[in-house]
Symmetry: C2
DNA sequence: TTGTAGGCGTTATCAG
DNA sequence: CTGATAACGCCTACAA
């Protein structure tokens, strides 16, 4: 195996060639390192001659300033971190997409952490991460100990997904209770009387969504039953489907904690011989892309996942730059998207 | 708004308290910084007294070593980068999941870059990224200029998705042509005679998959038509559906470049009044999670997305540690997953 | 406009 | 076992 390395004894292939430093550039251009530094960082004018020489030399040497060394002086890493619960959940995927775009536009690199992979204690993970970033976008669904530490000793942070109990925090998210209220009213207006909510108690938002449904059905005589799964994934929806749907007085509508669960529920309902929405309506939350491509298409609530990610990162960038206006919670409006999986009771296709 | 900051004039909320340095620890414990450093990094024994004092002081001060400063001297950042094409595509999401898990286990942070967000030139993005990481997992679908630079001047890299033309490179991926060959044989064996391939010429793999289909149908009298879309997304599948399916001699099977396209195609086929698989079979690639939850469930080819991500990162970690055995390409076996969207011609439900 | 020099926090070397 | 000290590459007063 041949390569272009300086060091042919490099193990396992090409060893990285030692990169040019600011001193190499200074020497080659016949100026001081300070001049090079100012040239790189802009904001000063130079002799035509110096400018030309520097431009040439820098290109020839392929010089790129070392972010670590720079960071030591400026105290800025040029990185921001994002901590999410599970990248396989399209809701978080969209969140990352939005955050990633804004970070990129701000010239910041994104340090990604999937908390679902956590063998490491959450707090230790946050502490390790925090020294490598200028700020953090994190899920509000962290332990109180982690949140306390973050607020007191951590880098600037923006929380997504819910209002935190800490004052002075920045957070952004959709109102889960309100979203569920709207979905509940939609179902009530369609004439449903017996509704099952398949929640995921491992998520804080699940209780909010349940509460919203309760509000929607308050005094309307609608019966709301509560189920719970171990994880917000399609497999769990499939698993719990029979016990939700085949009981003695089966529900005429099922609301799932999220679209993934709803996908599994709907699929298994059809396997069990039920017609959706003829026999039972199904609805979820998050408006993941795939909810459009089931048959029937899944009624869901758009929680603005990508926008939440983008806004959270936008606020973080502002905080890092010292432009932030103060703490507080920003709430996005959720939208119910009625689709084929919910239908008025009494109607037939 | 009140906070616990040292500096009440901090803009936009809490300013990060200046973290304890190794010198603070040394002074408080009455030892030298060198001793503290060795204590932190292990691999040496100490007096019981020193050990106790250091343990105490470090905890009290909450000291965590500064990764930037350490990186300057060790030459290691403790970060690895991953460059993918579009995180919204579940294939890449799984890839990141696998890579993330392995990186975490190796104690490395993951710097994530979504190339689809690229206003910045690809090469510039890579150069900026490369100084911040010890290694890179990147898509082989980069421009030749980028690959050249990466091989010559970049950090250790592992390419996923295809064999690169550069010798001495590490790459890992599934064999697209072989995968398509298997899928093609499956369709041929089911008795299909007129097959449409909806490719995405923007991806290198698409040509490989087309070639695999051609091999499968060689000399069998099966007709293979080629279509092309602008992006590998469901919307494009929907858009092209009518022109693929409603022509004068419509195909009896459609193979899409990936599952996302297939989802859109299948959905729109049903809107157009066609029965899948009765009138036309549909199949895709990647085995994204959602392909199980369409109706009918989508026949697809499992390309081992998450495993590819994990293996790529595993090889990268080995290279970084100098344990790598040499360059080369690692090929994963793809599996055809026959599901409800493909059915033998002549059979009826 | 340009140069000099000090220091950011850590590790590695070498001496005690 | 422990300590003093020189780097690592860069930025930033301050001086010229």
């Amino acid at each position: 195996m041949s390569d272009l390395s300086d060091d042919p004894t490099a193990p396992g292939g090409t060893r990285r060639r030692k990169a040019a430093t600011i001193r190499d550039v200074a020497q080659a251009a016949g100026v001081s390192t300070a001049t090079v530094s100012k040239f790189i960082n802009g904001g000063q004018r130079f002799t035509r001659e110096v400018e030309d020489r520097l431009t040439t030399v820098i290109r020839e040497l392929g010089y790129v300033s070392n972010p670590l060394a720079r960071g030591m002086i400026t105290g800025q890493t040029g990185n921001v971190g994002i901590v999410i619960l599970d990248i396989l959940n399209p809701h978080f995927t969209s969140l990352v997409k939005g955050a990633s775009r804004v970070a990129r536009q701000a010239g910041l690199n994104l340090l990604f952490t999937d908390a679902a992979e956590g063998e490491m204690p959450e707090l230790a993970m946050l502490q390790a991460l925090s020294r490598r970033v200028d700020g953090l976008v994190v899920s509000a669904r962290l332990s109180d100990a982690s949140l306390d530490w973050l607020v007191q000793a951590g880098p600037p942070a923006v929380y997504y997904g819910g209002r935190t109990s800490h004052p002075g925090c920045f957070s952004v998210g959709s109102d889960n209770s309100e979203a569920a209220l709207m979905l509940g009213r939609h179902l009530r207006d369609l004439g449903h009387r017996r509704i099952a909510y398949v929640g995921f108690s491992g998520a804080r938002w699940s209780a909010d969504r349940h509460a919203g449904l309760l509000r929607a059905f308050e005094g309307s005589g609608v019966e709301l039953r509560l189920h719970d799964v171990q994880a917000p994934v399609p497999e769990e929806g499939e698993r719990i489907a029979s016990s939700v749907l085949l009981c003695s007085e089966p529900p005429d509508a099922v609301v799932a904690y999220n679209d993934l669960l709803a996908l599994g529920l709907m699929s298994q309902a059809q396997v069990l011989g039920l017609n959706v929405p003829g026999d039972v309506s199904v609805a979820g939350f998050d408006n993941i892309i795939y909810s459009r491509y089931t048959s029937p298409a899944l009624t869901t609530v758009d929680m603005g996942s990508e926008a939440v990610g983008a806004i959270a990162m936008q606020r973080l960038v502002e905080r890092i730059r010292g432009e932030a206006a103060g703490g507080g919670h920003e709430t996005l409006i959720a939208h119910v998207l009625p689709r084929g999986s919910t239908r008025r009771r009494g109607e037939r296709a």
